[in-house]
């Protein structure tokens, strides 16, 4: 409840500031919106707009027998494949058209000749809007402007340095594809397309960010994804009016259902197989250019605790690992709080030898248990943050100083009990079990208030804190889907893929909430069986075989 009130207050505060900040971007300092017929004017526009940036290249080619028509080939150095520009644009225009006499042709004929015959590229578009032309050039396309004509051509010759497809850093699996998304949107869509070879896989592209002009794409499978969810995503994306988008995390904050929740209601992943898996469950993916993190929505809480590997590993093992992961979630959230509560309020709950062992370790520790817990949790968070940010070469040094020296010396000096070190270490490791990082940070953050509650109210405080978290979680929705589905509300058919994962041949339907449009996934009765005896063609002793 307190969370709700808090969030409402913050909402009010923030919404006030959202007065229309003056628009920047679009088309800077250009009075005109359409191209001029005069080539020099257009060139001046471009030079003016790009402010003589050093990577702007304007190449003039002549078309036809001299003097011919001047053609400007404009592109940004480094963003295009220069070999392709010279082979597919400059060479045909300049060399192939040598014998033409363009003066004899009308302007429309020239345009047609250029577009349909000379430019040897698959993606050629005609533009007449000057802003379009500028954005295309800035986006790495090549602009071709003709003298005496008010249209220009934009062709895709993009070729820039990019990271190749590598193994994802943040979601590692033992069994499963090793490919991860990279920073380039087109590569990412191709990774998905390669896994879904069907025209019903649709990708819609948007441009977000007035200045950054970041491409954002919604990908979904038409017919499986809920159209309303797709429409909602479209609406939420087009609503965004900002100068730049750097990363999908930024986008996430604009798209979320619960902006004040510590819990993420949109899942981000680096793994194409996770995305396609989600698409087949009727979810949608939102890809952002410039980041390997793809957003998936709508999602449920339990999805954050699954790994793609669960679906590749044998189902007994996958189910056991899942239970382990759920247990780790609770350990990461509650263990230090439980330790504090039990050792400062409820000593009767521990077996005698254990209580004496803990008491022996706490002997001489100058801090109360709650302070000890907060201190150790905090120092662990500092260590973790340092280990993440530090250059990799310092890694071993940090682990030696932080873990060995600090931990060992703190216990030796009697400042911290070793039981507390064990609790903190176990909690830390448990928090790393969560496959999706954004959930594990949320858990780590919530741990602190729960420790405080445990230290002041004991187990009552822990239960109170946990209830608040549980109530909050059950109030969340992700694009209209209850966040705790299928546990609250209970959806019996979806329990097949929660605490345990049933074998694939038993999971006949898609999740109820997201896959409503096309629920059935596979035909029934796919469980592999031994062939029936009469089907067995091998002649011989039929009597013995019949026993199966």
């Amino acid at each position: 409840m307190a969370l709700g009130i808090l969030s409402k207050a913050l909402k009010r505060l923030l919404s006030r500031q959202r007065k229309d900040s003056r628009a920047l971007g679009a088309c800077p300092s250009s009075p005109q919106t359409l191209l001029s017929r005069k080539l020099r004017e257009n060139e001046a526009f471009i030079r003016d707009a790009f402010g003589n940036s050093c990577d702007l290249i304007i190449r003039e080619v002549r078309f036809g027998i001299s003097p011919g028509i001047a053609v400007l080939v404009v592109h940004i150095d480094g963003m295009v494949d220069t070999a392709l520009v010279s082979e597919a644009i400059i060479k045909p225009i300049g060399v192939t058209s040598e014998l033409l006499e363009p003066e004899r042709l009308s302007s429309a004929q020239v345009q047609d000749m250029l577009k349909n015959r000379l430019i040897l590229l698959s993606d050629v578009k005609q533009v007449s809007d000057i802003a379009d032309l500028f954005h295309s050039i800035a986006g790495g396309k090549c602009g071709i402007i003709l003298d005496g004509s008010s249209v220009a051509f934009v062709c895709d010759v993009r070729g820039f340095e990019k990271r190749s497809v590598e193994e994802p850093m943040s979601e590692v699996v033992i069994r499963g594809p090793r490919e991860g998304f990279s920073e380039v949107l087109r590569i990412n869509t191709s990774l998905l397309r390669r896994r879904i070879k069907d025209p019903s896989f649709w990708i819609e592209e948007f441009t977000v960010g007035r200045v950054s002009r970041t491409q954002v794409a919604i990908a979904y499978i038409k017919g499986i994804a809920n159209d309303k969810v797709v429409q909602e995503a479209r609406d939420r994306i087009t609503r965004i009016d900002i100068d730049s988008i750097q990363e999908s995390g930024q986008l996430e904050e604009y798209l979320e259902d619960a902006p004040f929740s510590p819990f993420p209601t949109i899942l981000r992943t680096e793994r194409p197989d996770r995305v396609t898996g989600a698409l087949f469950e009727g979810r949608i993916a939102i890809l952002t250019d410039g980041t390997p993190f793809v957003l998936i929505a709508p999602v449920t809480f339990l999805l954050f605790l699954t790994s793609p590997e669960d679906y590749y590993e044998r189902f007994f093992i996958a189910s056991a690992v899942r239970l382990l992961r759920y247990a780790s979630f609770f350990i990461a959230l509650l263990l230090p709080a439980l330790y504090v509560a039990v050792t400062t309020f409820h000593q009767e709950m521990l077996p005698t030898p254990l209580v004496l062992a803990i008491a022996a370790q706490r002997e001489g520790v100058p801090f109360p248990a709650i302070f000890e817990a907060l201190l150790m949790e905090l120092s662990f968070e500092i260590l973790r943050e340092a280990a993440v940010r530090l250059p990799k070469i310092y890694g071993p040094a940090i682990s030696i100083v932080g873990v060995l020296i600090l931990g060992e010396a703190a216990v030796r000096a009697g400042l911290v009990s070793s039981a507390m070190i064990i609790v903190v270490a176990l909690t830390a490791i448990a928090s790393f079990v969560t496959p999706i990082f954004s959930l594990s940070i949320a858990v780590r953050l919530l741990r602190f208030p729960i420790i405080l509650l445990a230290g002041t109210l004991g187990l009552f405080g822990v239960v109170f804190g946990f209830s608040v978290v549980a109530i909050h979680l059950s109030s969340l929705r992700s694009f209209g889907v209850p966040f705790l589905e299928p546990i609250a509300p209970v959806v019996a058919s979806d329990l097949k893929d929660t605490l345990i994962r049933l074998p694939w041949w038993a999971m006949d339907t898609r999740p109820e909430f997201t896959g409503k449009s096309d629920l059935r996934r596979q035909s029934r009765g796919l469980m592999p069986r031994a062939p029936k005896p009469q089907e067995n063609k091998i002649s011989g002793s039929p009597g013995k075989r019949g026993s199966t």
Partner: protein
């Protein structure tokens, strides 16, 4: 409207931390500020009409958990305090203990013999009311001495007296069936039941012969006084009336169906004085009360399964089945003998129905019980009890026949 909303939010934000800190961490007690009481003894104090309690409190810092130098110190502390009531004495303990004594982890409630003979009524209420006392505490009576002497009896292999006593008692109950473990809960319940008298565990001091170690290497002081936790203490009402020895205790346990294990030694063959040991595997019992011509009568049916654990003479059951059957018969006789021993002492010496026959009659013949209950002491003494024991030797260990020692030719 908006102002009011901000007001309420800011008030809430201000109240939450204040409330949390104002509780002052209510009932918070750091684990190192607690003295964990492991057993508590109750006696009469030297002062007339006062009660003395003795506790043994664990010293966590003397338990060796990697802390060097702590091993030589005894890991417990025994301390007594007095008061007019148990509660007052318990609270007075805090005058001597810098750490707050806590009863949650107590394992034993020990009464001195003298105190128990005088009746434990005035002490028992505290233990049923106080929230810190667990009902799983074992009720013990110290034979011949004060509870204060038994409370901290030390045992080898366990550093904590209570742990040692618990270990010995558990093993005696499970492997020998010669001791009883009566929890506070059971004890209090039986006190309230008509026609059923209570028993409690019995503890006594054992002086070990002084032992000089020729190697002189043992660092720790050898334990010269230890405890023995076998047998049982029989009550009548709230007063101790006497002691059951090992045999009588197992007799009692046979009737109650609580025999979990043990060895029965019988004569292997009727004629020879060679012996055989039978290990009790399982036992069951049924107490069937009957009213015959207005007179109560109790039939005790005991069944026992045994394993032939040892014979002193060569024997092959495949050759002589009669011997096998006669062994079963002698096993039954031994059990009957043990039950009879318990019955005799309960009927004639204590005149205390520790078997709960009265309660069984009450359960089956409530109307007749109404007539019987006022003179139950007398009726119990005259009660006819028939004992039926059915035994079965099921196994013979790893071998069938015994080891046959071939007689070598003597010169």
């Amino acid at each position: 409207m908006r102002v009011r909303r901000y007001m309420s939010i800011s008030v809430l934000l201000a109240i939450v931390p204040v409330v949390l800190s104002m509780t002052g961490c209510w009932s918070r007690k750091e684990i190192e500020d607690i003295g964990f009481v492991l057993s508590i003894g109750v006696d009469h104090a030297a002062e007339e009409g006062e009660i003395m309690i003795t506790v043994h409190i664990a010293k966590p810092f003397a338990i060796s958990t990697g802390v060097a130098g702590a091993v030589d110190e005894k890991p417990f502390w025994q301390v007594s305090s007095t008061g007019h009531t148990v509660f007052e004495a318990w609270r007075n303990l805090r005058q001597q203990s810098p750490r707050r004594p806590l009863l949650h982890h107590s394992r034993f409630i020990v009464f001195g013999e003298e105190f128990a003979r005088g009746g434990i009524r005035e002490a028992i209420d505290f233990f049923s009311r106080e929230g810190e006392v667990r009902e799983t505490n074992t009720v013990v009576v110290a034979k011949g001495v004060k509870a204060s002497e038994v409370v901290w009896n030390e045992f080898e292999l366990e550093r904590m007296p209570a742990e040692g006593a618990l270990g010995i008692m558990k093993i005696a109950v499970q492997e020998l069936s010669t001791a009883v473990m009566v929890t506070l809960n059971d004890f209090l319940q039986i006190l309230e039941v008509e026609g059923h008298e209570a028993v409690a565990s019995r503890a006594e001091l054992v002086r070990r012969p002084s032992f000089e170690d020729p190697r002189g290497e043992l660092k720790r002081e050898t334990i010269s006084v230890s405890g023995r936790e076998t047998g049982a203490a029989a009550f009548k009402g709230d007063k101790l009336v006497g002691w059951l020895d090992k045999t009588q205790t197992r007799g009692l346990q046979w009737v109650k169906g609580k025999v979990r294990g043990g060895i029965i030694v019988i004569e292997q063959l009727e004629t020879e004085d060679k012996l055989a040991s039978i290990e009790i595997l399982r036992a069951s019992s049924a107490v069937i009360p009957k009213i015959v011509d207005g007179r109560p009568f109790v039939l005790i049916k005991v069944g026992a399964l045994g394993n032939l654990g040892e014979t002193q003479e060569y024997f092959d059951p495949m050759e002589s089945q009669e011997i096998w059957i006669s062994m079963e018969r002698r096993m039954a006789e031994m059990i009957k003998h043990e039950i009879q021993a318990a019955l005799d002492i309960a009927k004639y010496e204590f005149n205390s129905d520790i078997f709960g026959f009265g309660a069984e009659i009450y359960r089956k013949y409530p109307k007749e019980w109404m007539k019987l209950k006022d003179r139950w002491d007398e009726e119990f003494r005259k009660l006819d009890v028939e004992i039926e024991v059915e035994t079965s030797l099921r196994r013979s260990g790893l071998t069938r026949r015994s080891i046959q020692v071939v007689r070598k030719e003597e010169d």
